[in-house]
Amino acid sequence: MNVNASQFEFATKKESQDQEILRKSLTYWQDAWRRLKNHKLAMVGLIGVILILLFALAGPLFSRFSYSDQILDYSNVPPRMDIYEVADDYYVFITRDYKLLRISEKGEILARIFDSDKDAINKIYTYSDVDEGLDIALDFSYNLLPGKEADYDYTFAANGGPEISKPYKTVSNRTYPFGSDGVGRSILVRVMYGARISLTVAFVASIVNLLIGVVFGSIAAYEGGRTDIIMMRFVDILNSIPLIIYVILIMVLVGNRGLWTMIIALGSVYWVTMARLVRGQVLSLKEQEFVLAARALGVNRSHIISRHLIPNAIGPIIISMTMMIPSAVFTEAFISFIGLGVSAPMASWGTLANDALSGLMSYPYQLFSPSLAIAITMLSFNFLGDGLRDALDPRLRKG
């Protein structure tokens, strides 16, 4: 082994220290953020949550309709339309309840064309556009009457001209991007406002839960002894009750189905898990030296709880909070779906889904939009929550 003699000189302090690869010491939050950034699904969830919030907050600003604007003539129009060119640059769309709409080539709804004659026996309706001097005959007897088997279900004929059976093309509905509902309201706008309602309920209810849970849990744990036993027995009893029923009973009890009723119902019932969690955390923390030290220094109780115990339990609290929000969205949707949600014309996602249920077979798109909104919200928060758990869980932290 050949080693140059000069290499046997002693290394300086600095040279030695340069070798020691400095592991950057990160604060808890820097470390958590670094972990969260590396968690792909969590970032997907985070972006999802941000987009949903933007959708709910900023979305309605860009829309020409409000959530209660009704245009009855434009009811039940789907998001995608097969339009037919019945005359030169004159396109029409027929809804499933036989309303004829004039559509621009790009997909904007221009006007409803009213019927002038309904021949229900032969299944031929005639619609008249007086301004343009057009009489459009809709023959929808195909596949309904004997001897009329065809590849298509209906044809158009303008002013007695040839029957048009092929759609000109399929366009997206520019006026109602997600379609319109049974009374001609924009589903997109309804879903945006629904997001406001659903998310407001979820956030506020979760915060209420959080506050009750944290206060209750930390007091029980910190006081210990008899107080703890009594408080936890109470939690035990609440925990052995099917809570959803109590949310429903509270909704019935309060009667007035406003936003706040829902928030009170959800907020007053679901804090039990949080209380248990906080109690467990505080119990294990309060035995640790830094708390003992604070006590020995005569720091008062509420200060110890709020300054020493809760900040150290914040990780699990945040995780549980991110999981609470989607479950509140879920519960709210559930309750609205069985008809106990906020009252019309306000609507949450659950209400929208409930409204769409009766027309499911004819107008499935009316259900898809709110359902998709719920599912995306749930997924985003779940992904984010999973990521946060990995990022904040002290047990996995050292790694």
Binding site: Q7, F8, F10, S16, E20, I21, N38
Partner: protein
């Protein structure tokens, strides 16, 4: 000299996390003869436990033995499949762990767990015989009223008693090698002494070789014939108990000695000298000697090249540049000896 029972040759074990490769053991070689007691000392992260788990074939995902051979009785364990290894484990090679509180399954009785192991390695043994064997082992490790206590569940035992149960189970199939990974660290000081006494006593009675892993030099002194000092995934110094305690030839070993309190009531108060700095990051191990950034005598070469393994006498080797002929003379680090690489 007869064939060694265990021969570990240049074993390298790494864990592959999504952040990169953690080189837990970076080339470890040693030998163990039948009946010997080998101590492995080092701080946490030195690679001592990973070395032991490598021998057991218990490196879990995402870890892997990258290189090297582990010859047990002449057969290479690295090449064996998990099911072949499981025939050996608990039978030829046993292991006990640091924390007896969590090392026994809480939902099964002691009897259930011991009998399961005994019958696993003694095909066709009746349950009755297995229970008798278990009771015999519990008696051996000093559990009072073993016939009665065997029905208990782990939570009904104290930590020391649980460690005794662990030892009894590990020895129940008459292994030729027992690996004890910090068996006393999690116990109270008085219990620690009892368990060490027990192991010392068992060493005589059951003819098993023992590898005792610890971060506590004091524990090792009592029962080990040979000692290995590990740091940063490599072996720093190897020798008999006398070599390591009275004639250490590696600055790290010296540092270890200086940093442990000597329980002299006589009043010979020596100042404790801590080793400054922190252990190396095994994801980015230093190019040279792993101890060089903390070494009081670090030379330029130490930072650049790994130190050669230098044989000082038949039993004593040390990996340190100070022992190289070119190095300046420092204190007790007398130069000379055969460079083994």
């Amino acid at each position: 000299m007869s064939k060694p029972l265990l021969e570990v040759k240049n074993v390298k074990t790494s864990f592959f996390s999504h952040l990169g490769e953690i080189q837990a053991v970076r080339g470890s070689s040693f030998m163990l003869n039948q009946g010997d007691v080998l101590g492995i000392v080092g701080e946490s992260g030195s690679g001592k436990s990973v070395t032991a788990l490598s021998v057991m074939g218990l490196i879990d995902e995402p870890g892997r033995i990258k290189e090297g051979e582990i010859l047990f009785d002449g057969e290479d364990l690295v090449k064996k499949s998990q099911s072949e290894l499981s025939e050996l484990r608990g039978n030829e090679i046993s292991m006990i762990f640091q924390d007896p509180m969590t090392s026994l399954n809480p939902v099964y009785s002691i009897e259930n767990q011991m009998v399961e192991v005994i019958r696993r390695h003694n095909k066709g043994m009746s349950k009755k015989l297995a229970v008798a064997r278990a009771v015999e082992m519990l008696t051996l490790v000093g559990i009072p009223e073993p016939e009665k206590r065997i029905k208990s569940y782990p939570h009904e035992f104290s930590g020391g008693m649980r460690q005794r149960v662990m030892i009894a189970t590990a020895l129940s199939c008459g292994p030729r090698l027992l690996i004890a990974d910090e068996p006393t660290t999690a116990l109270d000081v008085t219990i620690q002494a009892q368990i060490l006494d027990l192991m010392n006593d068992l060493k005589e009675r059951v003819n098993a070789s023992i590898i005792l892993i610890t971060h506590d030099l004091g524990v090792i002194a009592e029962i080990c014939d040979h000692i290995i000092v590990m740091y940063g995934g490599i072996i720093m110094e190897k020798g008999t108990e006398k070599d390591i305690f009275y004639n250490p030839k590696n600055p790290y070993t010296v540092g270890l000695h200086q940093s442990i309190p000597k329980g002299d009531i006589s009043g010979d108060k020596k100042r404790l000298v801590p080793i400054e700095g922190s252990p190396p990051d095994l994801m980015h191990p230093p190019k040279g000697c792993p101890f060089s950034p903390r070494c009081p005598h670090a030379m330029k070469v130490c930072l650049e090249k790994p130190a050669p393994m230098i044989r000082l006498n038949e039993t004593h080797t040390s990996a340190c540049w100070l022992l190289h002929e070119g190095a300046p003379v420092v204190g007790q680090y007398k130069k000379g000896g055969e460079i083994l690489e």
